[in-house]
Amino acid sequence: MHDIGNCVNRTDHAHSGAILAYNILKDMGMPVEERTEIMMAIGNHDENTGTAISDISAALILADKSDVHRNRVTNTNLSTFDIHDRVNYAVTNAELELNAEERKVILNLTIDTKLCPVLDYFEIFMDRTMMSKYAAKYLKIWFELVINGTKLL
């Protein structure tokens, strides 16, 4: 439910979504300590205003920013793709690998570079990538980014 704030406005959706979630969970009977924790996590998941401030907020950030994939593109007209459509469309495989032994999370992407250069990925995802890096740091684990078999972070 972390993105329900987009029902209010895309801008500051993390904040509005946090309050919406808090109230829904209150109505459902969740204890105040738990729903407060959830509100904080949702309120901090957007790269423009948030950062990892708890274990669950860090996990949300890593999970949210890992979902880049062709299946996210809703625009069916390739000729009108913007950069977000193009980058997501070019990602044909995205896996978030967890290595408990080495304490790391690896975002492993396959990008069809005939559709989109890797640089375009960083053009729109640099902030999210850095947010993931710091979220992992909060959890005391490593974050690695692998694109087409090459470790980039």
């Binding site: 987009n6 274990d55 996990a59 999970a63 809703t74 967890l98 408990a100």
Partner: protein, 68 residues
């Protein structure tokens, strides 16, 4: 105790998810609906469980999936 299924079946949550995607569609954004939510929920829970984030307990891992 609230479960992930309780949240999934909540009509208000469902209406907000649909409303959110409707707004994002008109703005030309990518998918932020059930597919994205399911993936984020699963991955967030797995991060805390499989990496055994020691400060946290089972309740937190469960809540992680709920909010995601």
């Amino acid at each position: 105790m609230i479960t992930l299924q309780d949240v999934i079946k909540n009509e208000e949550v469902e209406a907000l998810i649909k409303g959110a995607q409707k707004q994002l569609d008109s703005l030309g954004y990518t998918e932020h609906s059930h597919r994205h939510i399911a993936i984020v929920s699963e991955r967030a829970g797995e991060i805390l469980e499989k990496l055994r984030i020691s400060r946290k307990n089972r309740r937190t891992c469960k809540n992680c999936r709920i909010y995601a």
